[in-house]
Symmetry: C2
Subunit: 243 residues, 2 copies
Amino acid sequence: MPKVKFDAIYKDLKRKIENEVYPFQSLLPSENSMVTTYECSRNTIRRAISALASEGYVQSLHGIGVRVIFQPVEQAVFTMGTIESFQESAARNHLDVTTKVICFMELTADERTAQKYGFPVGSDLYYIQRVRYVDDKPLILDINIFLKDVVKTLTEEIATGSIYDYLEHTVGLSIVTSKRKITVEHITEIDEKYLELSDYNCLAVVTSQTFDADGVMFEYTQSRHRPDYFSFQDTAVRRHSIT
Amino acid sequence: MPKVKFDAIYKDLKRKIENEVYPFQSLLPSENSMVTTYECSRNTIRRAISALASEGYVQSLHGIGVRVIFQPVEQAVFTMGTIESFQESAARNHLDVTTKVICFMELTADERTAQKYGFPVGSDLYYIQRVRYVDDKPLILDINIFLKDVVKTLTEEIATGSIYDYLEHTVGLSIVTSKRKITVEHITEIDEKYLELSDYNCLAVVTSQTFDADGVMFEYTQSRHRPDYFSFQDTAVRRHSIT
DNA sequence: GCCGATTTGTCCGTATGTATC
DNA sequence: CGATACATACGGACAAATCGG
């Protein structure tokens, strides 16, 4: 159970929206009424609402109320949205997942490597290539580079499971911010070798840099997705400061 | 000038980070010290900081401070990130932009159309196809569908410019939430006809639904991007509630 | 290992402004 | 105009994490 109040309220509202206790297009109870039902301050209610708004669940309307704009979506086979690991995404969709490590090595960043990935020259790094299978179909080619200083001991066996699980629970690293970029690129020989690309000659590439709680970038990842199973979702809210 | 206090502070900090007054990896002044420099309450400071955090500019570290993790990026030719129009993106990068309308029609949503795009059956719609050129290169094929009730009068001439400008300023519509999905799809005949795709056989497709202030979805857009000029950026922050 | 200073995290109560109806 | 509802802002209180002595 979340012991943080606004988080508990956020989760409660989210659940009620997903279960259509508050259906699409309806208004949530007013902030003031929620203050009494949840026995908290209005600030706390507003924090929960703004979290929902940033996920595209609701929309605040000045002078009117907070409207539900969530609609249950037809989930693509593999959808990325918030910052979650492959394992988490797969689990959310009840999919059978395996991972094969095709390359596991340690290296030191030379000038070119440092420039390309953004690590300091001379850093000790892990370089890992993995193929991700969902229901025995090879869908993703992952290239991970980790800063050895931060992730400490990493083995091929750990890489077969969830590296993030390892980092969060065993090493005790709390992952915080992640910057991502999505592009579409021509396939390479490696892509062709490991992914069953049929007649696609390009694929979706998600590159991301992850920063740990000290603000150091400790991970660079490139996920190369088969187009037919790739989907990325996003909600954007425009600040209505139309000056 | 922003007359909203937290927004002014947000913009000031943002500028200082971009100009490296607060350089990469440094800590911002503590919240309490900013309370005195900006002459405001701590809540107001915290709102500004959290806006910066959600854009990947800074990272709050409990008990330590707020670390700058912004790094000036090599901008791709055309980068999408927040909810901004094609025109705005282009202007931000000082690009020369033209638009050609290749289809402009009105139609009424039948069963199939309504299902496919999420409009109510029987809605009156505008259906528009446009090609976007940047420096005379055809980069994007846009398919827009608008709810006629909301956008009122829309002409081919308006479609040649920025439809959003028209909607915001003339019709007075305040656009608020937008849900997007990014996929990679095979090219169609129309793509081939209008975009110079060289040897790519697929492209990046961004579909989005936009909701107005009343929570009505009034727009469905599919933007089909040439792979070599497509880039989407994103920052995700994980709530550290590792229960 | 403990303590205290610093710093961010959560929460409260209140006041005032502004938009809608 | 008044009632309702969200938006912004203030100031204060206590908790939790970090770090140096």
